[in-house]
């Protein structure tokens, strides 16, 4: 009886603590992956945007902060797609190369500024 209980206890402990370690180890890998994709991309783009920004700087130094800001956001855009693709691939146990995001369309940024403003405004005034 005592032996049985101990066996059960140890089984559950190994399984339970084991699963917890496996799950949290999986998250470590996920975090490292996200970090790598997000921040590596960011670094690449930072170089680019630094170049761009320095060119711009000569012309209209007032606007350059917001400009750099925008480019960073745009970069993050593409990172996000990459990460989403990776997540889908991971959940399907397939390589990223097998999946092509066909229908990802960027809504053009030409939409006038009031559009964005109204969207933001709307958040505070309406569901």
């Amino acid at each position: 009886m005592l032996g049985e209980l101990l066996t059960l206890g140890l089984k559950v402990t190994v399984l339970g603590l084991g699963t917890t370690f496996v799950a949290l180890f999986g998250l470590i890998i996920a975090i490292e992956l996200i970090n790598k994709i997000v921040n590596q991309g960011l670094e690449n783009k930072k170089k680019q945007s630094t170049v761009e920004a320095s060119i711009v700087e000569g012309e209209t130094s007032g606007a350059n902060i917001s400009l750099e800001d925008t480019s960073t956001l745009d970069n993050e855009d593409e990172e996000l797609i990459a990460v989403i693709t990776a997540a889908i691939a991971a959940s399907l146990n397939r390589s990223t190369h097998d999946i092509i995001v066909r229908s990802f369309r960027r809504v053009p940024h030409q939409a006038p500024a009031w559009n964005l403003a109204s969207r933001r405004d709307q958040i505070t005034t309406r569901l």
Partner: protein, 386 residues
């Protein structure tokens, strides 16, 4: 628990979601992530799209049991409770959440511009054209009348109304209809301007409208009572939506129940928005969502929004003629509702032709009329097919 240890582990892994997930669910997770991206990065109606998308994500993770019904009898030992989303979804299924969201919207809506210019109600009626065009097309696409009615109501440009009707008439399409409704509402500034420009002349777009008369406090108090009474008498099925909308508005205009008004428009509405969004999103399981019907619904939703805009603009042109040029037809497009975005679109398109032209307040009239209009149209559809 007497099984060999390896078997226990294999059983456990076999019970995990990794072993059971289908590629369709994987695609749904991808769609959910994409909607989260739209909600956060593009700020497309994030208050509802973010919960909807996360609900969609959760519903497509196999075996979570979040969506399971209970088994056994409550209060006995064989009872197994259902999943969290099963219980929260009851408020959708029983038609409780949408009217309560309308209560909150009522406390936030100023009907003053509509009372000052009641004729704009007709624009709010005309802009419901899209609902019925989409209804006819949906019938021709092979949808049942009930489903067609639910699809058409996307053109009402009112999320809670669309969810309320769909839950009662065609719950199997709740996921795609809700996603389409909220996505297109966010896209109003992209959908409407080309249609508005194509069907109006430069002269019409430059019309400057007379200033609105001031509206007394008493009129604002009587208005919600009158609307609740009259509209519920003519279209009883619209009573849950319009009754709560007008109760909220009466809270607002009475000025004596400020604390109720604030709670209805903040905490109560936020709680219900979370529950509604997550559970409506969770109806979008792979088997319900990944079907050609979804693509049809998305196409029909766009048609509904476009023809709603068109109906409003054309009726605006008619009013312009009949009043001898006193009405700028650009305010007609605001009749689709999507408060206050559609009204802002009227303002901006008008200002592009004539920088000194301020149509916003004039467009708010048709804009809030559109909410009443689509609730009435929803009531008619519910009484015909409910």
């Amino acid at each position: 628990m007497d099984k060999p240890f390896m078997e226990v582990i294999l059983d456990f892994l076999g019970d995990s979601g990794f072993a059971q997930i289908t590629w369709q669910q994987g695609i749904m997770i991808g769609i959910a992530c994409f909607l989260i991206y739209l909600a956060i990065k593009k700020e497309y109606e994030p208050l509802l799209l973010l919960p909807i998308a996360f609900g969609m994500l959760l519903a497509n993770l196999p075996l979570s049991g979040l969506w399971d019904p209970p088994t056994g009898t409550y209060g006995t030992s064989d009872f197994q409770p259902g999943g969290l989303l099963y219980y929260l979804y009851m408020g959708v299924k029983l038609g409780i959440y949408p009217p309560l969201i309308f209560l909150g919207i009522g406390t936030m809506t100023d009907f003053g511009p509509l009372i000052a210019n009641p004729k704009s109600l007709l624009l709010g009626a005309a802009a419901q054209l899209g609902i019925f065009i989409a209804f006819i097309l949906a019938l021709l696409f092979g949808f049942s009348p009930e489903a067609a009615a639910s699809i058409g109501i996307i053109g009402g440009a009112d999320g809670p109304t669309a969810i309320f009707v769909t839950t009662k008439l065609a719950p199997q399409y709740l996921g795609p209809i809700a996603v389409a409704a909220y996505s297109y509402m966010a896209l109003i500034p992209i959908i409407q301007p080309p249609i508005m420009r194509a069907f109006t002349t430069k002269e019409e777009r430059q019309i400057v409208m007379e200033q609105l008369r001031p509206v007394s406090k008493l009129e604002k108090i009587i208005f919600p009572i009158a609307v609740a009474t009259l509209s519920s008498l003519l279209v009883p099925s619209a009573a849950p939506l319009l009754g709560m909308l007008m109760l909220g508005n009466l809270f607002r205009e009475s000025l004596v129940v400020d604390r109720l008004s604030k709670t209805a428009q903040n905490e109560l509405m936020n709680i219900i928005t979370i529950f509604l969004g997550v559970t409506v999103g969770a109806t979008a399981t792979a088997e319900a969502f990944l079907s050609p019907d979804t693509l049809k619904i998305i196409a029909l939703g766009l048609i509904a929004f476009s023809f709603g805009t068109l109906g409003g603009v054309l009726f605006g042109k008619l009013m312009c003629k009949l009043t001898g040029g006193k009405v700028n037809p650009l305010i007609g497009s605001a009749g689709v509702s999507a408060v206050p975005m559609a009204a802002r679109v009227s303002q901006v398109v008008g200002q592009q032709e004539n920088p000194g032209n301020f149509l916003l307040m004039h467009a708010m009239g048709p804009n809030v009329a559109g909410v009443i209009g689509s609730a009435v149209a929803a009531g008619v559809l519910l009484s015909l097919f409910g």
